[in-house]
């Protein structure tokens, strides 16, 4: 006692210390300490040497700490442990209360094993009083045990508990005379116990099987089962008890078979365990009474009614009311047989009263039957009626129980079906949702695809229209150029052949006439004639300038390029140096390429204006080995190629170049400017666009 108090004090103090730290490790430690504390309380409560009040207070303490536990599984286990002690203390309401709590907790964390256990424990609570509720609980437990996943739970671990539940169910069903179901459940129970390798309850199961066989009239089988029960119990603690029970049962079977000799043997054998029976007066009295009754039935009246009285005396001394009810009934039967009706009536009434008190309907029924025979006609009729009524009600009750059990099974089956239906409905719902989601996603993807296709198409048409615009621009420029040139040519020819010719004619004529005239103004006129000659020269120069500009049309592209460069550079106040290799035959270059080169140039120059801080741009078109090489060079700050993420400008350039099957290089070092060199083959056919 002192030691355990000391132990508790240590634990409590460490708990208090622990609560000062808010540390997960400490929390686990404190959980462990709590468990230890609970265990120590339970140990005290278990100790039968302690007073009942002390045990109860310890249980309450244990439970109050239990409710502060975080881990639900250990909480449930502790609560169950507490409930057992309440059972031991015969505080069944507390026992029930604890197990109901355990069941709720198990439910909340979906712990199947503990749910089944809790149902089984509750079944045990209802077993003596409410058969149907007990049945319901055991049935639930069995259902959970039967449906446990073999992969998650080792069946060996719960087979023993399951076996107990099955045995309980079998007992209940036997009591309501549902023999065949009881039999199959008993066999299942035996299988479970065998699986669990725990034979503690196997003899009991065989006893049950024997009783069932007897009830069904299979007497030989019944004897066999009882014998098996004895065999299984051999070597166990319950060997003698089980042997006595089975011997008694065998005696009953033989009695039913009217094999009185064998019956007597069995009872006598049972009665030979004098040492055991001296400690168990109840059993002793039972066997004596049974032996006496068999003697009476077999007309061996040598020690009758003394044997009955011997049994009754023992029963009276221990106030075994059930025993007394049976005993007095037997006596009544005996006295009726020797036609001492008044004594018989007295015993029968005594039996009836006790049975009524005990609700022992089996004996009550026998009492009524006997009384109806030995009473006066009027009284006898009343007893007969009582007998019939009771019999009917008993049959009804049995039937009601059976119906109720069937309903429990059906309802749970129905719930199962409903659950199945619901899960199926849920499945359908989930499938439908998934399907719809998939459909929606598909639709969305298709929509996006179409959208991006549209975008691509749009980009394509935009490019095409860009090209078209450029082509038109170019054509217009060419036409303009052509027109200008034609006009220049026309003017040149007009000046050269017409104006100049006529001017020459006039001058020559004047000169000729001047040679002839001698009026002293010859020199003056010669001066004007020279002036005319100078005018001619000037006109010829103009004409030559005009006519010599018979530029080929491909110059127009380069003009456009030069205009672009000139305009942009002027706008940004940057010097430029443009050179075009005359060997490039721009006329034969695909418009697409011209557009692309034009745009690349534009893009590159924009980059230079935006980022390079350059003073000079050098642009060079060069022809080499069937390639046009465009080099754009600046003297700006440059960039570190690896560090600059490719902007949209560079990407555009790269994509344009790859469209033309060309190559592009961006060469730059910090502070040494940037060189963009593009090389594009002239002859290759344009790559088909892949849309």
């Amino acid at each position: 006692m002192l030691r355990s108090f000391f132990f508790i004090i240590i634990i409590i103090s460490s708990l208090i210390l622990n609560s000062c730290y808010n540390n997960p490790d400490k929390a686990i430690e404190s959980e462990e300490l709590k468990l230890n504390l609970i265990q120590s309380y339970i140990e005290i409560a278990k100790d039968r040497q302690n007073s009942e009040a002390e045990r109860r207070t310890n249980l309450e303490k244990a439970y109050s700490i239990c409710s502060t536990l975080n881990n639900n599984t250990s909480k449930i286990n502790k609560i169950q442990n507490i409930s057992f002690i309440y059972y031991e203390l015969k505080d069944f309401d507390k026992y029930k209360d604890m197990n109901e709590r355990a069941l709720r907790l198990s439910n909340s964390i979906n712990d199947s094993l503990n749910m089944a256990r809790s149902y089984a424990y509750l079944g045990i609570y209802y077993r003596p009083t409410k058969l149907d509720v007990a049945y319901e609980n055991f049935y639930e437990a069995d259902k959970i045990y039967s449906s446990l996943d073999y992969q998650k739970h080792d069946p060996k671990k719960y087979a023993f508990d399951h076996g107990k539940v099955l045995a309980d169910l079998a007992q209940i069903l036997r009591k309501t005379k549902d023999y065949s179901k009881s039999e199959s459940l008993t066999i299942k129970a035996i299988q479970s116990f065998e699986l669990a390798e725990n034979g503690l309850y196997i003899p009991m199961c065989y006893t049950n099987l024997g009783n069932l066989a007897k009830s069904l009239g299979h007497y030989d089988e019944a004897i066999e089962y009882q014998q098996k029960a004895i065999d299984y119990a051999k070597g166990t603690k319950k060997e003698i008890l089980q042997t006595l029970i089975s011997l008694n049962n065998m005696g009953t079977v033989y009695k039913s078979q009217q094999k009185y000799k064998e019956a007597k043997e069995s009872y006598n054998k049972a009665l030979s365990y004098t040492d055991f029976l001296s400690k168990n007066p109840k059993r002793h009295a039972l066997y004596l009474d049974n032996l006496a009754y068999v003697n009476f039935l077999s007309n061996d009246t040598s020690d009758i009614p003394d044997l009955f009285y011997k049994a009754l005396k023992i029963r009276d001394s221990i106030d075994d009311k059930n025993g007394i009810a049976t005993n007095t009934l037997h006596l009544a039967e005996y006295y009726q047989s020797i036609e001492k009706d008044s004594i018989a009536r007295m015993y029968a009434k005594q039996s009836r009263d006790i049975s009524l008190q005990l609700h022992n309907n089996v004996e009550l029924l026998q009492a009524y039957r006997l009384l109806s025979k030995i009473s006066d006609s009027e009284e006898g009729l009343e007893y007969a009626n009582n007998y019939i009524a009771l019999n009917d009600s008993l049959v009804k009750e049995e039937r009601a129980f059976r119906d109720k059990f069937a309903r429990i099974r059906f309802e749970t089956d129905e719930i199962k079906d409903e659950n199945l239906k619901m899960t199926r409905e849920n499945e359908i719902l989930i499938i439908a949702i998934l399907g719809l989601t998939a459909l929606f996603l598909l639709g969305y993807i298709i929509f996006r695809q179409q959208q991006s296709n549209k975008e691509l198409l749009f980009a394509q048409t935009q490019q095409e229209s860009n090209e078209e615009i450029y082509r038109l621009l170019l054509n217009q420029q060419i036409k303009l150029e052509e027109g200008r040139q034609m006009e220049q040519q026309r003017m040149s020819e007009e000046l050269h052949d017409g104006v100049l010719g006529r001017l020459f004619g006039v001058r020559l004529s004047l000169d000729g006439i001047n040679q002839r005239a001698n009026d002293g103004f010859t020199e003056t006129r010669n001066k004007y004639i020279d002036e005319l000659k100078a005018i001619e020269k000037e006109i010829r120069l103009i004409s030559h300038d005009l006519g010599a500009e018979t530029l080929p049309s491909d110059v127009a592209y380069i003009d456009a390029v030069e205009n672009l460069i000139g305009d942009l550079c002027e706008a940004h106040k940057i010097k430029f140096d443009f050179h075009n290799d005359e060997d490039i035959d721009w006329e034969s270059v695909d418009d697409q390429k011209k557009v692309n080169l034009f745009r690349i140039l534009q893009e590159s120059m924009q980059n230079i204006f935006k980022h390079a801080h350059a003073d000079l741009i050098k642009i060079n078109f060069e022809y080499a080995d069937g390639n046009i090489n465009l080099t754009i060079l600046d003297d700006g700050i440059g960039f570190v190629s690896s560090k600059v993420k490719k902007g949209i400008g560079l990407k555009n350039i790269t994509s344009r170049v790859s469209q033309m099957n060309g190559e592009v290089q961006f060469i730059s070092d910090n502070n040494s400017g940037t060189t963009v060199s593009v090389s594009v083959p002239i002859d290759t056919v344009r790559v088909e666009e892949i849309y």
Binding site: G501, R516, D583
Partner: protein, 215 residues
């Protein structure tokens, strides 16, 4: 006198028939296009041949298109009227044209209209009558340039240079000069070597050619 401008013919007449010119009796036929000129030449070749022909280079071509310029006309005249002195009078002063005319026609007189004065025309006229060729200063200049070169360029090379100078691409040259592209390239390289600018580009070639008077 063949010229499409009556004013010019008037000028010639005024000069030749003026008071400074009294030694010769001059009878002049005039034509203003190739058809008339050719008809006159043919007619005169049958009797009463012309002594002298004044030929303009740029003329309205003949109706059948066989004669397109004074150059063609002069060629016919040389055949039909072998004794006649041919004087070319033209506005064109480009070296290659001068070169071509000299080579194809070898005229007795070659006068560039823009240089020409009345007195020069008279001088030329008198010289040619006496059997002495007369060339304008520009033509003589051309001769001089050709002579000072240690080498001469043939007609094809000159054409190449001429068309290049007009801005025609080397690639398109076969359309203007009846040579294959590779032959043209070869010739271009030869010219560059002659000019001792072997690795120069076209622009430098043209500059050099201009300097040397080939264009």
């Amino acid at each position: 006198m063949i010229d499409d401008h009556p004013m010019i013919i008037e000028g010639y007449k005024n000069t030749l028939l003026g008071e400074n010119q009294k030694e010769y009796q001059i009878k002049i036929d005039i034509a203003s296009n190739c058809d008339d000129a050719y008809a006159n030449i043919v007619k005169s070749s049958e009797g009463n041949e012309y002594d002298m022909l004044f030929v303009d280079i740029k003329l309205p071509p003949s109706s059948d298109g066989s004669i397109t310029s004074g150059e063609d006309l002069a060629k016919h005249a040389k055949e039909l009227l072998p004794k006649a002195k041919i004087i070319i009078l033209t506005m064109h002063r480009e070296d290659h044209r001068i070169h071509n005319i000299l080579k194809n026609i070898n005229p007795a007189g070659f006068l560039i209209k823009s240089d020409l004065t009345s007195s020069e025309l008279l001088l030329a006229f008198n010289n040619i009558i006496k059997g002495k060729a007369y060339y304008s200063a520009t033509v003589n200049d051309h001769f001089r340039k050709m002579m000072t070169n240690k080498f001469s360029l043939d007609e094809k090379n000159l054409k190449i240079l001429y068309h290049l100078s007009r801005g025609v691409k080397t690639k398109n040259l076969p359309n203007y000069v009846s040579l294959s592209l590779s032959a043209i390239e070869k010739r271009k390289n030869q010219i560059k070597e002659m000019f001792s600018i072997a690795k120069a580009d076209d622009q430098m070639l043209l500059e050099e050619a201009r300097k040397r008077g080939f264009i």
